[in-house]
Symmetry: C2
Subunit: 182 residues, 2 copies
Amino acid sequence: MITHHHNQIRALIERLARLSESEDWAGELNPAQMAALSYLSNANRFSRAPSHVAAFSGSTRGTVSQTLRALERKGLVTEARSQNDRRSISYSVTAEGRDLAMSGKALDKAIASLPPDRVQALEQGLGDVLRTLLAVQGGRSFGLCRLCRHHERRGSAGYCHLLKVDLEPAETDQICHEQEPA
Amino acid sequence: MITHHHNQIRALIERLARLSESEDWAGELNPAQMAALSYLSNANRFSRAPSHVAAFSGSTRGTVSQTLRALERKGLVTEARSQNDRRSISYSVTAEGRDLAMSGKALDKAIASLPPDRVQALEQGLGDVLRTLLAVQGGRSFGLCRLCRHHERRGSAGYCHLLKVDLEPAETDQICHEQEPA
DNA sequence: TCCATTAGTAGCGAGTCGAAACTATTGCAA
DNA sequence: TTGCAATAGTTTCGACTCGCTACTAATGGA
């Protein structure tokens, strides 16, 4: 049974996202571009292809392809074709791109002004909702590498048993498109 | 200080909204149209003008003007010019529009599958975030009529001390653009 | 080797979006 | 009363999203 409380919460989530997106950096970037840039700046080197961005944002490869070209024209990302599989492309975020992605958003400040237990509860609740939604829609989780069932911690670094590669310390804190919660 | 937890939560909110928007009814309506339709179907008769939709969604009057005309072409809303102020227009949602707006969203179902205390915590946390964000950005709250400081309960009906009008029972549960939390 | 699959791109049409210019109406103040 | 300034909404413009349907190129399995 869906009560008006559940509607209310969806409305809140959608409105917050909309307000956050209609912020300052609008004019510079539009929501889709910012979402892609933000994803790319947190994704590991195995997860920066157009199809990954598309899967993450629930969009299509075609749409994302154009979004990424817009970002490239603006000098915020650079394209690099893969050696192994010459079909695939990996995008990297430039220094300017990273600055823009990391620039403080009003929504972050609003969240930061909450008491820690509220923040905790929010993270947990939203995480649960996301997991349930993905289970229904059949999407990937795009969680952090180090929280993956294929991840093995090795000191400050790590190892991926799925891709069979060593991981730098920083990489274990990035988003991976193959991630499956432990 | 903004920690990665706060970033995480913003990312969650934006991703949930994006996934929710890229749902089934896409093809029928796009996100902006659904957002406008959803707002209109919950707003009271004083709050259904283009400028109200614009303020609610953090958009502009110009953009919203086109969105509403698209909705009207699709037969989901109807326009009605006001007698008192002949500049202003109020849109009403048609029966089909209401059906579409009310149709079950996957995100609602995901939220409904949470334990009640989680739902409670989410509603509280997201509400706090929204209030803080609005305080910073200077937007209106667009809350429920009956939770307004100008509202006086009269049995199952009510009275608005700001607009000096009687309110039907159903109206006290709708969104008002003048709402200020009690 | 052949062909289905996968990764990405191109072009189309409807529509968003912000900005600026524009019309009509209203309200206030001299 | 006249005269503006403010307000409500629309229009137009250019850049872009978005889903779609083709399309190319590379890959990989039978």
